[in-house]
């Protein structure tokens, strides 16, 4: 099958790259664009490691084809912050030890960046519910919930 030109905006930069339309968006980002922050776990939509933002909302990049990215605006974890200039969400994760091996972390960060804007997250149960689409094999989730709780309190102007 022949490759096609795919023009998209990634983390604010517009580019054109050739790929087969059937290539998974997760592989496209990692292999064609070198953006290896997006991780690949299950490749069937269950683990959430590959979560990106597509046109402003989270999506599983393993359930998208490269061909579908033509004309799209994508944000990956690299677009959130860098080791020197961490995003507030990344800082909260670091502070609360919300990661161990870090495999699941990019997906969690992308999901958190959305739910902080769209969900009320009044209780820790609400936070766990909203994060239920991201699996972590290391932390037992407790520290992830603590990091998100701090971010929610900050957002709502609550002092814990």
């Amino acid at each position: 099958m022949t490759a096609i030109d795919i023009t998209l905006t990634v983390n604010g930069e517009t580019m054109t790259t050739r790929a087969e339309p059937r290539m998974l968006a997760s592989d496209f980002l990692r292999e064609k664009l070198g953006l290896t922050g997006t991780h690949v776990g299950c490749e069937h939509g269950v683990c959430g490691a590959c979560t990106i933002k597509l046109n402003g909302v989270t999506a599983r990049s393993c359930l998208l084809f490269a061909g579908q990215l033509d004309g799209a605006e994508v944000t990956t974890v690299e677009g959130l912050g860098s080791p020197r200039r961490m995003h507030r969400i990344q800082e909260a994760f670091r502070k609360h030890h919300a990661l161990q091996c870090g495999f699941c972390t990019p997906g969690f960060l992308m999901t958190v960046s959305e739910i902080l804007e769209t969900e009320e997250l009044r209780t820790d149960d609400d936070i766990r519910d909203a994060l239920s689409g991201n699996l972590c094999r290391c932390t037992g989730y407790e520290h992830i919930v603590r990091a998100v709780r701090e971010l929610v309190n900050e957002r709502d102007g609550v002092t814990a």
Partner: protein, 286 residues
């Protein structure tokens, strides 16, 4: 786990999509949240993929004569937030919270969910409960059908290979109707083991009319029509007795998620819960 090669087409209109389906091995992709996992496992290997995500007309919720029309490409998250649906059918927002996870709800569509026809899925149950008319467009025009004719069995529907599900019309409910949805699943976002939805209208202290739909108990969503008849004129205290045997004759799956017996015993519990909640909501309106 990579999909096999396919020809990728992106029609801009319904007519172009129908033309693109005129091929012996073409498949529609909407949200891709059920299709792409199957393609990644190579359980499905279409030669041609017809991506309908660029057909803007299909992504609207609109008021129509006697009800609300939901375009096939309306996403689960969009339906949950939609104000017209929220006013006319608050049960949709209540049910969408149980569909998968945020990122999947952002992509998955009503048309895809109905076409995929998982007997535990929320949309098929809701459309059955709300007496929705499914609109199907093909080469020779548009036809509509109810859920009883549409759903055959898991993954099998009345859709022909070259037809597109274009929308669903939900007829308005009487002003005083209350509705409720609930399900039991193993973890938040998992497919339901059993799901139930109810619509109740009160007549003084008694039930004027009731509808009850069950998911996860057969090959398709089911309407408990005998229970619906028995509920007419009953009081809220009668509900538990009336629904007690609602699943005894059903033959649900016996699988790794739950045994058939457990599914059968969940049905009356959930049925009672949603009927009482719907009745209380109906009372709150009058």
């Amino acid at each position: 786990m990579k999909p096999a090669s396919f020809e990728y087409l992106r029609p801009g209109t319904v007519d172009e999509a129908i033309a693109a389906l005129d091929h012996e091995d073409a498949k529609i992709i909407a949200g891709g949240q059920s299709l792409v996992p199957m393609m990644n496992f190579r359980l499905v290997q279409p030669e041609r993929l017809v991506d309908i995500n660029g057909i803007a007309d299909l992504g609207q919720v609109t008021a129509v004569d006697g009800g609300v029309r939901i375009g096939a490409l309306v996403r689960h998250a969009q339906a949950a937030r939609d104000t017209m649906l929220g006013t006319a059918f608050p049960i949709i927002g209540e049910a969408m919270r149980h569909v998968a996870h945020v990122a999947i709800r952002n992509r998955g569509t009503i048309g895809g969910s109905l076409s995929h026809a998982d007997p535990s899925a929320e949309w098929p149950l809701l459309v059955s409960l709300l007496d929705g008319a499914i609109e199907i467009t093909g080469k020779s025009g548009v036809r509509t059908c109810g859920t009883e004719e549409f759903f055959f069995s898991p993954l099998m529907t009345d859709l022909e290979e070259d037809e597109l599900l274009t929308g669903v019309v939900l007829p308005s409910l009487p002003d005083g109707a209350g509705m409720a949805f609930d399900e039991v699943s193993q973890r938040a976002g998992d497919f339901a083991v059993v799901a139930c939805g109810a619509v109740v209208a009160m007549d003084g202290p008694c039930i004027g009319s009731a509808r009850l739909a069950l998911g996860g108990l057969g090959d398709t969503p089911l309407r408990a029509t005998e229970v619906e008849v028995a509920l007419t004129g009953a009081t809220l205290d009668d509900i538990a007795g009336i629904v007690a045997d609602c699943a005894v004759d059903l033959e649900p799956n016996d699988d790794m998620h739950a045994s058939a017996g457990y599914r059968r015993s969940l049905a009356p519990v959930l049925a009672r819960r949603v009927l009482i909640r719907a009745a209380e909501r109906a009372k709150g309106k009058t």
